[in-house]
């Protein structure tokens, strides 16, 4: 039985390939039962090496609780990432995928405090080719920029960024991206570059880090997750890989065939 079925470009709704998979799945039951133990072991191994992990793991059971952002900052980031990757006809966006929580946890960790970066002076602006030359850590950039953008927004519209309508928010984000918005000693471009990079990270990183919830990002593009073996699959030219998403903490709960696990 060939586990492959053809389907078109775009997000797969996950229902079309269920039926032809069943015989393959039955054979896999034993494997799944065995690998669930291995998976737990894997998660524990991941946690045990926490100290070395420059990406930051969440506290167990954490959901939408914040360690770095204040409530006002959460509103700002929710509003911004909802414009960057919106929920639309193609499916849920960055907010639904948990990107705000993801960024919060990253900024509270070693990445947020630039733990791996060389942060000694003397400081100079340098050329674009010389890269980042500012004293602020990523966490400090977010904190200062959110205040500066909200100040700007209050002055021009009497509202904070989160209270603007979508078009106004887009305009402001474009101005940040293009560096045309003066934010005092905060670099608008630096902030936008970090925000957009971290938004994509939160949308597409393993759900282990609290973003990409329910594999929203991976399902959008058709990435099945870090599967281990494509030895046979690689010869199926032009066919979509039919098995459900997996992450480092396990499978997609919405795609578990009944009777397993």
């Amino acid at each position: 039985m060939d586990p492959f079925v053809r389907c078109g470009i775009g997000p797969c709704d996950g229902t079309r390939d269920k039926a032809p998979l069943l015989p393959y799945m039955r054979r896999r039951q034993v494997l799944v039962a065995a690998s669930s133990v291995a998976l737990l072991g894997g998660v524990m191994a991941t946690r045990s090496s926490l100290a070395d992990n420059p990406a930051r793991l969440p506290s167990p059971g954490a959901s939408r609780s914040f360690e770095f952002f204040s409530p006002g900052e959460v509103s700002f980031i929710d509003a911004a990432v909802d414009r960057l990757i919106p929920s639309d006809a193609l499916g849920p966006g960055a907010v639904e995928a948990g990107v705000t929580v993801f960024i919060d946890h990253q900024l509270q960790g070693p990445y947020g405090r630039a733990a791996d970066w060389y942060m000694h002076g003397p400081w100079a602006d340098g050329t674009p080719q010389q890269g980042y030359q500012r004293r602020r850590t990523p966490a400090e950039v977010y904190r200062a920029a959110i205040v500066a953008v909200d100040d700007h927004s209050r002055r021009s519209s009497n509202k904070v960024f989160a209270a603007l309508d979508g078009n106004e928010q887009d305009e402001l984000l474009h101005a940040l991206e293009d560096g045309t918005l003066g934010l005092g000693d905060v670099s608008a471009e630096t902030f936008f570059t970090l925000l957009w990079q971290n938004t994509q990270e939160g949308f597409f990183a393993d759900p282990l880090y609290l973003g990409n919830r329910n594999f929203i990002g991976w399902k959008l593009i058709g990435y099945p997750g870090p599967r281990y073996n494509y030895d046979a699959a690689i010869r199926h030219y032009g066919e979509r890989f039919p098995l459900p998403n997996v992450g480092l903490m396990g499978r997609d709960p919405s795609r578990q065939p009944t009777g397993l696990l």
């Binding site: 894997g42 991941t46 870090p226 890989f241």
Partner: protein, 588 residues
């Protein structure tokens, strides 16, 4: 005040590919060998387990396997009239930290340089005349020939279990292989990897465009393999996590999967991790090394006496150590004197993105799964009308489909964010492809390494300073290669394509390659090289320097095959020549 330790025969600085090879060869010769590694110990089990290693955020984006600039970095400027500033976080290249070095996180793309590459200066003069070489271009012959290195390329390829299709066995051209390669004594140890849909598409399009495509040589195993040391590797499963990750499947050649099981069991080999070597110590004459000084994880300083010191760190770190230790005369670009730091070079890369509608499943891949053409590498074509020196291969690599930072192509003109961007990602992730060009970078008088006058590392030593930019020669060559790549893209009949030329100044920000070369060039002339043809220091004969720091310029292939071959070549010279008479192997 440093603690003086009992002496040892040989100390290796660093414990990556070259140290593992040298360690094995010199312990076979009966010497007591110690490796000092600044990073931590790591092995397939438990560090690379597939249940956690396939984590794009941790390893590719947050750079968990690489050196941390907070501990070690360099300063950078494009030109001598600028002030160099520290590289504050990693970007353009990714030096490793930890046992296995970059051999843990590389892709496994294992090439040989062309016979003409090793004699690039004399060959260019012979074919095109002396005036063809720009006045400020400082290319030079290596002092070793392809024919001399061939047996050592062979040893490295059989150590690694390279999968590939030979193109030239003993002068006889083989169908399906690279017809431009230098003659090899035998085929690769393993047949080529599986062909994926996208590499098959490249094969068809390149053939239609009139080229001779072939499978790229891969240190990813196409079948189970036991290497000549008796170390067993498993068949690659095409999981798509080689580049910047470690292999959990014993399928990508690394020190861990090819040498360490044998080397670590030897009684005359030892290693210490989290030991940062800060100096090679010299005696009063300055002509003999007495050992090295290192700092351990607790900040304690030790002196390790040794009869022989071999620098096996990453390219720039070897040069940094030579400069800090006062071995060899530092290069001065104004006076054009000195050698240490001279002829730093890199690689120039570009791509053509191809947008079409077939599902090609980019995430099923391997680090060195690719098809390439070599018509425009080295001197495989007439450079006369083109007016530049050098070249590169054009390849479609199917290394993996990481969604954050790898398989992100969207057609030209797509908005950078918002619903239209989201739709473009959804429409192209499973079907976009990129054809890459991988170009040589010649050496120039104003591209070099020295010590920074301002910025210091955690030990208070000056940072290494890199002064480097792309020159007209490289821009011309890269543009030429990119246009040739576009011919193949066009033959794929795409719905659209995007030529991404490498233009403007070299930038340290976006990742390009970790193929940093030079600064301790090898050669036959001590006024233009740091080490002789056996990689032995001209000034301090009991110091050898390995790795790509000895490349006099960088050619159009990934460097690891040549780095491995040179390590075996130098080890053989130490065993068969140096140990008999411990002095200079070449008279200056």
């Amino acid at each position: 005040m440093s603690t003086r330790l009992p002496p040892i025969d040989v100390v290796l600085v660093g414990f990556g590919w070259t140290a593992a090879i040298m360690g094995h060869e010199l312990t076979e010769a009966g010497l007591n060998v110690l490796a000092l590694e600044r990073g931590k110990f790591r092995d397939t089990v438990p560090d690379f387990a597939t249940t956690h290693i396939q984590d794009e955020l941790r390893y590719a984006v947050r750079r968990a396997l690489f050196e941390r600039p907070a501990r070690e970095t360099l300063s950078f400027r494009n030109t001598t009239d600028q002030t160099a500033l520290p590289m504050r976080h990693l970007g353009s290249f990714l030096p490793a930290s930890g046992v296995g070095g970059a051999g843990v996180h590389w892709n496994g793309q294992t090439w040989r340089f062309l016979p003409e590459d090793f004699v690039v200066r004399s060959h260019t003069i012979q074919r095109y005349g002396k005036n063809f070489i720009p006045a400020d271009m400082t290319i030079q012959d290596w002092g070793v020939t392809y024919a001399e290195l061939e047996p050592y390329y062979d040893r490295f390829e059989y150590l690694c279990g390279v999968s590939g299709q030979a193109g030239n066995v003993g002068g006889s051209i083989q169908p399906g292989g690279n017809p431009f390669e230098g003659p090899r004594q035998r085929g690769y140890p393993l047949p080529p990897l599986e062909r994926s849909f996208m590499t098959e598409k490249f094969q068809a399009a390149a053939t239609e465009a009139g080229f001779k495509p072939f499978p790229c040589p891969a240190a990813n195993t196409s079948a189970a393999y036991k290497n000549p040391l008796g170390v067993q590797m498993g068949k690659c499963t095409y999981c798509g996590y080689c580049e910047w990750f470690a292999c959990g499947n014993y399928s990508k050649a690394s020190p861990q999967t090819t040498i360490l099981p044998v080397l670590l069991a030897k009684k005359n080999f030892s290693y210490r991790t989290e030991c940062d070597v800060t100096r090679v110590n010299l005696d009063a004459s300055g002509k003999r090394a007495t050992g090295v000084t290192y700092v351990d994880a607790n900040g304690k300083e030790f002196e390790q006496p040794a009869q022989l010191v071999v620098l096996c760190a990453f390219a720039q770190h070897n040069v940094h150590l030579l400069l800090l230790s006062g071995i060899g005369k530092p290069y001065d670009p104004k006076a054009n004197t000195g050698v240490v730091g001279r002829n730093y070079a890199y690689q120039i890369t570009s791509a053509v993105d191809v947008f079409q509608d077939d599902v090609v499943n980019p995430f099923m891949g391997a680090g060195a799964l690719g098809q390439a053409i070599d018509e425009f590498n080295g001197d495989n074509f007439d450079h006369g009308p083109e007016g530049f020196i050098g070249g590169g291969y054009i390849a479609l690599w199917n290394t993996g489909g990481r969604p954050i930072d790898q398989q992100t192509q969207v057609p030209e003109g797509t908005p950078t964010w918002g619903s239209a961007w989201k739709r473009a990602r959804a429409e192209n992730y499973l079907s976009a492809m990129s054809i890459a060009t991988h170009g040589s970078v010649m050496s120039f008088r104003d591209s070099y390494l020295d010590l920074d006058p301002t910025y210091r590392d955690i030990y208070g030593n000056p940072l290494l300073r890199m002064t480097f930019d792309f020159h007209d020669n490289e821009h011309k060559m890269s543009r030429f290669l990119t246009d040739k790549a576009a011919l193949i893209a066009q033959a794929m009949k795409p719905r659209s394509m995007h030529k991404k030329y490498r233009e403007g100044h070299y930038s340290i920000v976006p990742y390009q390659t970790t193929h940093n070369t030079g600064g301790a060039a090898m050669g036959n002339d001590p006024t233009t090289s740091v080490v002789n043809r056996y990689l032995q220091s001209w000034d301090v004969p009991n110091v050898f320097v390995l790795g790509s720091s000895v490349f006099p310029q960088n050619h159009g292939y990934n460097p690891t095959g040549t780095v491995g071959a040179l390590a075996f070549w130098a080890a053989e010279a130490i065993r068969s020549k140096y140990l008999q008479a411990q002095g200079p192997l070449v008279q200056a």
